[in-house]
Symmetry: C2
Subunit: 386 residues, 2 copies
């Protein structure tokens, strides 16, 4: 087990009808900017629940944060924060709204020239404007971590940021929100959370027995509840396990003390930036070819995953490892998630070279747990995913 | 899954040679009271490491906190805190020293008549004197939770306390400390942590799939590393998994959203108060008879535990459930832990009635997840454990 530090101060308020508890979590004298996305919260009742809980607060609203939170939209929100002297941010949404809010939390107190520097120069945020979240879409884990990913259409970039100042002060998780989520987004959420676990697990055996088992626990739970969620989003038992699994998949716990990969995300982000493919679907596209291309390096852990998560006990290490990749692909397919780039775009030719060139330009010369996935290897992986 | 709130702000600093990082965690202008136990830290080098890391701080020492931290000793430390205007507490020890430090953190800011009221009247501590810990003995999880148990010899009492103000600000976990721990205490730590998990798991199936699997993960890991730890405490891989498992067993995570029992601890504390039996050993004494006495209520979960933790797949639910209890007893025995009260004292006659009377006097009329383990049932359980 590697040395590690772990601190996660976010307060989770989990369960039925928990949005009403919002009023106890925000300072009474706060001037709140409530941030949300395309407006689905106005149809499913969440907007009304939040407004009711905030009846005694000064609240300004900023809606319209898109999936893959867009820098140009966020700069408008930043203007509101400064003009209106906002003191508290409240994200009501999924990962995109929460990530956008984290950017704003950092940008509101950033003293440099351009807020894009926070992303371009990987500036760590130690203190941000305080914020909380009401989660409406389980998937990204952003509700209990300190990272965010922001998109800039103008330059077709999608970059990460973070820092200890960017943990939500609280996050409210009411699994009942799942009842109104479209099937496509439920499938995305399941795929996203599952891949988050894989990125922190599918490396090489490192003797971190508990972290391995926790990761396997989350994947087993997602596999168990996935068909129930898709069939009936009002199944509260399934919904609550889905929601809590998504949070635990990326709140920092399972990555402590172990090697992590994250090459799938790095490559996947490019597919979103280039083609606008849903984040989760880009992960499902890259995962199988990444594991096949790096098979030798990952096969021991793939075989452990095969045995413990998919109950594949027959065959050699190689057999089990391959079977586990196929099981993973089948799991994505059962969720209605396609796993080839050509399923999403006819314009895939040249994508491998474009991404490899971008990584070279950014100096991303070695991805993965061994930092040996070079841009030309990235190109091979992307080609395998065509 | 039940509604829950979860917040755990303790910073964990885990790994080889991490005690040196202590100096970054305490405010530079702090006046520190360093608390420890019987002085084993002076033999195993931990004292020197701590003193070196604190070379630039004002430090006063208070040693001699006994196992089952004793109220009369702690009141002496409280005098030092007040006389010396201490601003920061540093516990260097195991659960007893850390629990004692938590009591002092609460008592230092308590404005009532007697600090014993905090225990007798279950006064919750919202703000305590800040403190950190250097863990020298994995077992209790006290390094990452906000609870403590304090003993008062004068009245043969052992009572719990806690509150959100009693999380350590940081805890340093260097698995190398395990190399100098006597086998008896290693066995106690393994048993203690294992039983902590059982108390939060062995109730009835409640559909909290992830929490169940996390609990099973910790127990599987403890079972896997236990023989390696006992055979060779210098096995760092085993030691690090043991240490992290003990912390995760009682940092609040696995109990969120699920029913919990804790009757074993309530009864076990009485055996320590009456006979001075090591805490962990009292748990090993009570666990089997508690599960046998409450077999009908717990058998479904016992059978799940049998299948997933002990790989017992043959037989009926009852068969598997019984076999799991026997496996648990065998696990304790392999650690050298006796599981009958008569193994520890010849004076056990009347103990059942004494404990039942104490619970009646305190108004503890229903323990366990169903709050139906009445004092007369407690007496039956204790008699079965003779």
């Amino acid at each position: 087990m590697n040395n590690f530090e772990f601190k996660n101060p976010t307060k989770i308020i989990f369960g039925k009808d928990s949005i009403a508890k919002l009023e106890n979590e925000i300072p009474k004298d706060a001037k709140v900017l409530m941030l949300y996305g395309g407006g689905s919260i106005k149809k499913n009742g969440i907007y009304d629940q939040v407004k009711k809980a905030l009846a005694n607060f000064t609240v300004i609203e900023f809606g319209g944060i898109p999936a893959n939170p867009e820098y140009s939209v966020l700069t408008e929100a930043l203007e509101v924060i400064k003009t209106e002297n906002i003191t508290y941010l409240l994200a009501v949404g999924g990962g995109s709204v929460i990530d956008g809010t984290k950017f704003l939390s950092a940008a509101a107190l950033y003293e440099g020239q351009s807020s894009w520097d926070i992303l371009a120069n990987k500036i760590r945020t130690d203190v941000g404007l305080p914020f909380g979240t009401v989660l409406t879409l389980p998937a990204t884990g952003s509700e209990m971590n300190s990272g965010a990913v922001i998109t800039r259409k103008e330059t077709q970039e999608k970059l990460g940021m973070g820092g200890p100042g960017l943990f939500p002060q609280f996050s409210i998780l009411d699994p009942q929100v799942i009842t109104s989520i479209p099937e496509r987004q439920l499938a995305n959420g399941l795929t996203d959370a599952f891949t988050h676990v894989l990125e922190q697990y599918m490396t090489y055996p490192d003797g971190a027995l508990l972290q391995d088992r926790f990761a396997e626990s989350i994947m087993q739970t997602l596999i168990e509840v996935a068909p129930r969620i898709i069939k009936d989003p009002t199944d509260y038992k399934a919904a609550s396990n889905f929601m809590w699994s998504c949070t635990m998949a990326l709140n920092g716990l399972i990555q402590k003390g172990v090697p992590t990969d994250w090459a799938i995300h790095a490559i996947g982000h490019e597919l979103t930036a280039l083609f606008g493919i849903d984040h989760a679907r880009t992960l499902a596209v890259i995962t199988p070819s990444h594991y096949k291309y790096n098979f030798e390096a990952k096969k021991e852990k793939l075989a452990q995953y095969a045995e413990r998560v998919w109950n594949i006990t027959e065959g050699s290490t190689d057999d089990k490892a391959y079977a586990a990749i196929e099981k993973t692909v089948a799991f994505f397919h059962e969720l209605g998630i396609d796993t080839k780039l050509s399923d999403y775009t006819k314009d895939y030719e040249g994508t491998a070279e474009t991404i490899a060139q971008r990584f070279t330009d950014r100096g991303w010369l070695g991805l993965g747990e061994h930092k040996d996935v070079s841009p030309d290897k990235v190109a091979e992986i992307v080609k395998m995913a065509y």
